[in-house]
Subunit: 423 residues, 2 copies
């Protein structure tokens, strides 16, 4: 299929703040045998697109924005279907023009050490879509490097009542929310509550078995197994973290838990409440949606000690300080926010005194895809709606409305915005 | 048995630096039914005793120093052997005058939530021995609060070739070293290397099983399973961490690993080398004892990406910065050093960019006792020696020599020092 020589894309320009332009640009082409060209069916506008928009990330030349897409393969490099594809990631053999795919927000080769051990967001070839280093997804067409490793092929048997917009959530925010949740719940310091066995034995196989002496250890009681988790930040990623967390707790049949869902912005709390309304009381009944002061008061009154884990989704000083304030000693902070403050606001003495365990950084999206897609399909009643105050994807707009979309999303007037490049 | 009304103790006095005095003080007595009085057989001098000595921790009144002891029970409060002991920690029923015990460096009740889930160093009743809040162990007698929870009863069948001094190591440094190692090796971010399964599936049971889709995930290859760990700081705790780490790796039959044991002080590196000389080449051959520059160069040359985990035993800015520098993306920092710097030297952007997972704080010693005692017994050829350059416990001195002992230990002229209060 011959692609049009030019097509529409949204670029940000340097020199002044918030300079978003909708432009006709040369359609991307295959430049490396591992490349694919994808026709973008839907592209997301994400909170981290706003870093450059707000002047927090300097750049020198215009680039195409966006790092979330669901698309259809329209061209493949020579590596695909070649004899050399054997032994390489499966998509080099399998992927065909016409396939529907999702891309993570970074490319990743699936052939380096980091990809193989499950941390593709630190792939040695990793580049961020929608950055000065790699053209983004808010366009009619996008070039995907290392496409056999980067892309995720959507299974053909997916339910028909899930719109394309929903799959676009898998590019970043749903896996990131899921990762925030699993990084906290999977931590050995939370395990005594979830599994009912005391530390360090609960760590499992790596801990040598000690004959006889282990019987001296403390016993976890039923009353100790009241899990408490706070989510700091209820933007779109925070909502995804909330739904993921509830789903994981349900699947693991954790009997007693409370989730403190915290955001200072009323509209965001309202969105969280609307999403929770779509869940059963058996799940939603465990969640308290609160502003910052109310959350501090509730955690103090209800847990005394603090919560077992905090999912920190925001990435600024007040968010990480709130996380520290809310957590119990030996608690866990799972931080997926992008921090730009010049100094980390918690000092070593404070980290020591509360035995903080914290994990920072970018979600390994590609490795989370199976879990995220599975969650999306099973929870499509909650995550799958499009349009309106009660849906995670609040509105779908054409690329031509990008200037307005950025403005409204930046001011938090609009929640999650998705572009339809063909509208 | 009537105790003498006065006995000998080592106190630090406020007002000037390093004011250590050996004094005759009133012998401690039972002040609460849960107390025990222990005749101190051996007491340790630990690096963190030096914080007050060097003026880093202000205090207003003299107190008895020390937080490591092995002792013999000489008096028990009314809770012991009482009808009320039923349902309480076993030692309230079991402990008898004459029993040999070890104490952790903090008291802990074993009856609160934190004790039960395995984090007794954050027991709600926790107090640090040898601090302004609780008289310490560098004395002929010591009072142990919450003794049925705090003390660890040494099994009578222990090998006879292990001197008392060695068991004193269990009060702090051996469990702390063990904890540093297990906190790193038990972290989900290290698990892909140790277990050969990719993230996030390697987290285990908490991760829902996804039918079909999981097959898309990356595969860990044999070449990915070369574990690399750095230990920053080869003081007595660092040595304990090194031996613990090697033992855990051996017990788990981890086939390929390299340990970078790092310290800028030649005498400490020499001590580490001497300890390694007592181990088999099958273990010691995996260890490189290096200064800081050599460690940076070796890690860069041999791993490219950085090490999977760093045990940070020191607790200052250069140590934590070195840990950051040495670790791979998605690596783990297990920090047991006491940090006193007013600002944490790594900012949020750096933590994000390298996907740092870090755990800080005080070892839950009481919970580590079974593992530490078991290690000490099995590895007594390495850990058990007393006296001389090649032993972990370098010298045993009387309390009367405390002023000199503090001075020599502070200047790193002497390694690990133990007091014999009856010499």
């Amino acid at each position: 299929m011959a692609l049009p020589p030019t097509s529409t894309a949204v670029r940000i320009h340097p020199g002044k703040l918030a300079d978003i332009r909708v432009e006709q640009l040369q359609t991307p082409t295959i430049v490396h045998p591992d490349d694919a060209i994808v026709k973008v069916l839907k592209a997301g506008l994400c909170g981290s697109d706003l870093h450059a928009y707000r002047g927090l990330e300097p750049f020198d030349a215009p680039y195409i924005c966006g790092h979330e897409l669901v698309g259809e393969v329209v061209a493949l490099g020579a590596s695909f279907g070649a004899a050399s594809a054997e032994g390489r990631p499966a998509l080099y053999s399998k992927l065909k023009v016409g396939d529907k795919v999702v891309s993570p927000f970074t490319c990743s080769c699936e052939e380096c050490h980091f990809c193989r051990i499950g941390f593709p967001s630190r792939c040695v070839h990793s580049l961020l879509f929608g950055s000065p280093n790699l053209a983004g997804a808010q366009a009619q067409y996008a070039r995907i490097p290392y496409a056999g490793g980067t892309l995720f092929l959507l299974p053909p048997e997916l339910p028909k009542d899930l719109p394309e917009e929903s799959f676009m959530l898998c590019g970043d925010i749903l896996p990131t929310g899921y990762f925030a949740a699993i990084q906290a719940l999977g931590h050995p310091n939370v395990a005594p509550i979830v599994k009912g066995e005391s530390y360090p034995g609960v760590i499992g196989s790596i801990v040598p078995k000690v004959r006889g002496l282990q019987a001296e250890g403390a016993r976890v009681l039923k009353e100790d197994r009241k899990l408490s988790v706070a989510i700091v930040g209820l933007g779109p990623v925070g909502i995804c973290a909330l739904v993921s967390l509830l789903d994981i707790l349900t699947q693991n049949a954790v009997p007693e838990y409370t989730v403190y869902a915290v955001d200072p912005v009323p509209a965001r709390r309202a969105k969280a409440a609307a999403i929770l309304n779509k869940m059963t009381p058996a799940e939603a009944g465990h969640v308290k949606v609160l502003d910052i002061d109310a959350a501090k008061a509730a955690v103090k009154a209800e847990t005394e000690k603090g919560v077992d884990a905090v999912l920190e989704i925001v990435g600024n000083d007040s968010a990480i300080l709130l996380a520290y304030d809310l957590m119990r000693p030996f608690g866990v902070i799972s931080s997926v926010g992008v921090h730009t403050s010049p100094q980390f606001p918690i000092n070593g003495d404070a980290l020591y005194t509360k035995n903080v365990a914290a994990s920072f950084g970018r979600c390994p999206v590609r490795a989370m895809f199976p879990l995220a897609v599975d969650l999306l399909v099973r929870r499509r009643d909650v995550l799958g709606g499009v349009g309106g105050e009660e849906a995670l994807v609040e509105r779908v707009i054409p690329l031509s409305d990008a200037v307005n979309g950025y403005d409204k999303f930046n001011s938090m007037t609009w929640g999650k915005v998705v572009f339809d490049p063909w509208a």
